[in-house]
């Protein structure tokens, strides 16, 4: 064997790489939560101590405060978990949640889960390893919240739940294709299982046409096989048949 061939074979070993999620978690365990230079500078600039001695006219000061707040909240909408402005984004979402009707609450929470997945996707694509661990935590927290809302809600918009869960599936696949393992969402599956069970039970007590009976039977099969998305889709089709 020639030396060049041997070297080529040795270089095959470059394929040995650690798992991406382990790399991210280890980094956050070693370095702890990020306290970047940028954050320190922000507080240095806006610290009340620094501005204490400066005499602003009240109107001008109010204008500045409003401007800074509007700007910060607006800018925060593009922030990612682990960023300084991310907490403002969460505050905005929480305030929006207060005004959502009960029927839409589950969809709203599922929408937030999808938002978290889009953030994860952005992080994975741009290789911002520092933000990956907080993003995974945010995702898990939102999944939990969505599952609770689905179980709690008495009225539900099945069509939108189907759309959101389909989108969730697609987003999850996209992220996993980038090498980030986000794990199973048992809590959500459990909630969807309860929702489908409830809907099937409700439909059994109704008078159905032959086609509707057929769809209900298919939905039951999907439910028993653990395919809750498909079962929900059939329940929605069934409810929309004349």
């Amino acid at each position: 064997m020639q030396e060049a061939d041997l070297v080529k074979k040795i270089q095959e070993l470059k394929k040995i790489k650690p798992r991406k999620d382990w790399v991210v978690l280890t980094k956050s365990q070693i370095l702890g939560p990020p306290t970047t230079f940028r954050e320190v500078s922000f507080w240095n600039i806006f610290s009340p101590k620094k501005w204490w001695g400066v005499q602003y006219k009240p109107a001008f000061a109010t204008l500045i405060i409003v401007g800074v707040l509007v700007g910060a909240f607006g800018f925060a909408q593009n922030s990612l978990p682990g960023n300084f402005l991310y907490s403002l984004k969460k505050i905005t979402e929480k305030s929006q949640a207060v005004f959502v009707s009960e029927t839409e609450r589950s969809n709203f929470q599922l929408g937030l889960v999808n938002k978290r997945l889009e953030e994860l996707n952005k992080i994975a694509e741009t290789n911002q390893v520092e933000n990956l661990a907080p993003a995974l935590n945010e995702f898990q927290a939102n999944i939990s919240q969505a599952a609770k809302e689905i179980i709690k809600s008495k009225e539900i918009n099945v069509k939108e739940i189907v759309q959101q869960t389909e989108k969730l599936k697609e987003n999850k696949q996209k992220i996993e294709a980038l090498g980030v393992v986000i794990g199973e969402s048992e809590e959500l599956d459990n909630a969807l299982s309860q929702l489908v069970g409830r809907e099937i039970k409700d439909l059994k007590n109704r008078t159905l046409t032959e086609d509707q009976e057929k769809l209900l039977a298919e939905a039951k099969e999907d439910f028993e096989a653990g395919n809750f998305n498909e079962a929900l889709e059939k329940i929605w089709l069934l409810s929309n048949q004349p």
Binding site: I10, E12, I16, K17, P18, Q29, L31, V129, V181
Partner: protein
Amino acid sequence: MSYYYMANPRKLFSKIYDQYINKIYRFIFLKVNSQEIAQDLTSETFLKGWEAFKKSQNPGINNQEIENPSAFLYKIARNLVIDHYREKGKTQIVSAEYVSITDPRTNLEEEAMLSSDFNAIRGALNNIRDEYQTVVIWHYLDSLSISEIAKMLGKSEGAIRVQLHRALKALKNELK
């Protein structure tokens, strides 16, 4: 004073981590042949590295500056591997065919790794002497120059050239 002390140490070490994590992991993995042990020793390497890096910001009597992070991390990694085998009381030899390379959740890229060439070279590298393994990994996988390796091992460049030559010969014999 090197440039490493001029900015935020966390940010700088974060960059060092991103730059060397794959190399240090691979270096340790090829020596211990276990994903779990490689992960533990790699984490420990970077933890020790980070502790030393923080101390080195205030170079006093006992704190030395870290001029070359790569050499520094490899030195910690090598010592940890030596300690690991010392603790075990013997050199662990595990057949390369039975060792998981990365996460069990394999994807296409990872499956491509399991080619026969890949396994053959891993097995061969595993069977040659430790000092030969080290120079082969550093020179041919991590692209360290002969002079860098010589400095890291405290030997002359000539001695490293001879060692590399013997290492390749040993590998060829293993692959026959």
